[in-house]
């Protein structure tokens, strides 16, 4: 073992958080090593300690965290022994971090060119930031901006999510780091942008011969991008090995559950029960909606049949959410949306929203929320029956939303949508804010409810893998129009439109061959 060859050696790292309810162990005896030029993936669900590990390596932990044991050596330097000057030096020149939300890593009041120039100055320790300098513009060029000087002059809010993350990566690269830590760098970005960003990281790793630590909840994504992976569960490393081996033959049951929980893009929905001649439950004609000069939905026609799950797939900005909101009557629009619900159904369209934190009124207990919904929708269930249908215990009834987990909140939101008879449920990215294993259970619940009640779903998602096990038909949206619509089977096995093909490749973590991407995001 020659320590100078290894870029990062983490050994027996244990971290505790001091909380009001006593000490809580976040990391217990975690050890792994990353060689130069190697990429290592750390996988786990929220609360598994993966972010704590990333923060501990550069000693960015919150003040209530204690590193109780272990060592972190970077190229032979013991990070845990560094004084504040040494740490500053380490963070400025040797380690770079890229976090989940690029918007928060950038100063909103400064042009991004200046921010990248500052990273150069910090790495050198002298000089003045010069956003027009050759090295800054070269770097912008390097991370894939065609018109470097135009982008450098923009403010962070003038960039898309993918562009902002590229700027953050450019800042990270300005110091030519030995170690690049990426903490969920593409969560919240579209699949195609995700593929492009990770592709870029790969290239740069080889070019700089840097060690890369990629942290994510998505095991297949990490396995496709990393040489080796480690799986974290409750602060312990339960499995480690070559990426392809871990993915294909997981040893630990937790790893297996993570893989099983992922929606499989090649596992279709069980035999459909929708007759192809089923009457329409909703008819959308010439729907048009624009915000200022931006067209969200562009003269769109669509029919949702009774009892079917119609998935609308597209990237952010494709207009899919606006379509869902128009169908649910939540936004004004041109054109018509007709709902052909049975007579006497007061509120035939219900919605399940994306964010579990915003979907429930925080000042009402679950019981009050559902009780009111049953009354409004004219349901016949009791509150107890209703929570049982969505797989929640009656002991949660008197809790406030703040006392529930994300998955539980989403179950309450689903219960609310099913509180009474309705014909169509608009599901707007209902699982994208949840951990993978919770995601799988919520999707199962949605499928069961759909089969037992026979309602139709308009299921909006950016993820083709998520809708695979659920959808009867799929509409692919781009720039406010439907570019392809058809039976799910046909879309997955024989996509016609190049854009659909590109989306599928990105979802399967294959290199994207089709020359189509969301131009504004790349």
């Amino acid at each position: 073992m020659t320590p100078d060859l290894s870029s990062l050696v983490v050994d027996g790292l244990s971290v505790d958080y001091r909380t009001r309810r006593g000490r809580r162990t976040a990391l217990a005896d975690v050890g792994f090593r990353i060689e130069r030029g190697e990429s290592y993936g750390l996988v786990g669900e929220s609360g598994s300690g993966k972010t704590t590990a990333a923060l501990a390596i550069v000693r960015y932990l919150a003040s209530n965290a204690d590193i109780t044991h272990g060592s972190v050596r970077l190229g032979g330097t013991e990070v845990l022994d560094l004084d504040s000057d040494g740490l500053r030096e380490l963070r400025a020149r040797r380690v770079a971090m890229v976090y989940q939300e690029p918007g928060r890593s950038l100063n909103p009041t400064m042009r991004v060119g200046v921010q990248v120039a500052e990273a150069f100055v910090a790495a050198r320790g002298t000089g003045r930031p010069d956003p027009g300098s050759r090295e800054v513009l070269d770097l912008f060029d390097r991370v894939g901006f065609g018109e470097a000087d135009i982008i450098a002059n923009r403010f962070p809010h003038e960039l898309s999510g993918g562009q902002a993350q590229r700027v953050v990566i450019a800042m990270a690269l300005a110091k030519r780091p030995e170690l690049l830590i990426l903490d969920e760098p593409t969560t919240g970005l579209d699949v195609q942008v995700e593929a492009a960003v990770l592709e870029l990281v790969d290239e740069l790793r080889q070019e700089l011969d840097a060690a890369v630590l990629l942290i994510s909840h998505n095991l297949p994504l990490v396995a496709a991008r990393c040489d080796r992976v480690g799986v974290l569960q409750d602060g312990s490393l339960v499995e480690e090995g070559d990426a392809s081996v871990v993915l294909s033959s997981p040893q630990h049951p937790y790893t297996r559950s993570l893989i099983d929980a992922l929606p499989d893009i090649d596992r279709p929905k069980p035999a459909g029960i929708v007759r192809p001649d089923a009457p329409a439950i909703a008819t959308v004609r010439d729907l048009h909606k624009s915000y200022g000069s931006v067209t969200a939905v562009d003269h769109l026609d669509l029919e949702i049949r009774q009892g079917e799950v119609l998935a609308v797939v597209g990237e952010s900005g494709s207009g899919k959410t606006t379509l869902g909101r128009a169908v649910a009557g939540l936004t004004s629009h041109d054109g018509t949306v007709e709902i052909h619900g049975p007579a006497g159904q007061a509120h035939p369209v219900q919605v399940v929203f994306q964010s579990p934190d915003a979907t429930l009124n925080p000042r009402r207990t679950v019981r009050r929320i559902l009780d009111r919904s049953i009354r409004l929708l004219g349901g016949t269930d009791t509150v107890e029956q209703l929570v049982d249908r969505v797989g929640l215990g009656t002991d949660l009834l008197d809790r406030y939303p703040g006392e529930l987990s994300g998955g539980q909140k989403q179950r309450v939101a689903i219960a609310r949508a099913f509180a009474g008879p309705s014909s169509l449920v608009v599901c707007d990215e209902p699982v994208s804010a949840l951990d993978v294993s919770v995601q799988a259970r919520i999707l199962t619940l949605l499928r069961e409810l759909q089969v037992t009640t026979g309602v139709s779903y308009l299921f909006i998602s950016h993820d083709l893998a998520v809708v695979r096990g659920l959808a009867d038909r799929i509409a692919v949206m781009r720039n406010g129009r439907i570019v392809e619509i058809g039976d799910a089977e046909d879309i997955y096995t024989a996509p016609q439109h190049p854009y659909t093909q590109a989306l599928l490749q990105a979802a399967r973590h294959e290199p994207v061959t089709a020359p189509i991407g969301a131009t504004d995001a790349l």
């Binding site: 919605v351 979907t359 925080p362 049982d388 929640l392 703040g402 998955g407 609310r416």
Partner: protein, 286 residues
Amino acid sequence: MTVTDVTPVVTNDGPPPQRVALQLLRRPTFAISAAILVFWVLAPIAVKILGLDPYEQAGDANLSPGGDHLLGTDNLGRDVLIRLLAGAGPILTVAPAATLLAAVLGTILGLVAGYRRGLVDDLLMRSFDILNAVPGIVAVLLVASAFGRSSFTIVLAIGVFFTPLIARTVRSAVLVEMGKQYVEASRTQGESTWRILVSELLPNVRPALVVEATIRLGYAIFVSAGLSFLNLGAQAPSPDWGLVVAQNRIFIQTSWWTVAFPALAIITLVVAINLIADNLREVLGR
């Protein structure tokens, strides 16, 4: 089938009310300020119950503090302490009444403006701009001198001029809440606008409202004491603090206690209420 997705995490939105009270009382600045406020609320009541008379000549004029008269007597031989205790009465009637008026009007207008948006919102906000362009104290002075010097006109004047400030706060809190989907979920379930405003939005903007109203109460005390000082509020022989300070300021060289103690009383009350507002803001997380 019962599934637990993840062990529930307690976050700090929507804390039960009893916990808020406990959290507040554990803070020393809140506990002390609340005690001061309670003291001034109870003081005039105690004066009544004990049958003390703030208007009667209790001893010689201009006695310095100590002895039978703890805080001395004024130029008419009235007990400064008794007048001080009784003087909390008028100020703690006018200011809270004005604040309540502003809170009720402001909440209604703020809720409507934030929920409706569009023309209604624009009209309300622009008229508030106009109202706020007039310096507050000048406007209140104008009303008070135009409609006579009664407590009622002062409550009305302060209340109306504080309304825009509260409405603005409520409106911006409503705008934040409108971005959350629980409001839209209520709409798709056919909840009436009235109920969305009152039972969905109002409980969620209440923390912001409570904080803003408490700050306004501090200002209202200040303004009403100021009006009394300018002889536009309470009239002699009322023990109102502002009035007492005004009447005795000519004696400040000879009998400082007749001015200092009521002035100090105004300060304690205003500071206490501001500290309460600060603590509320921190605990309620706004």
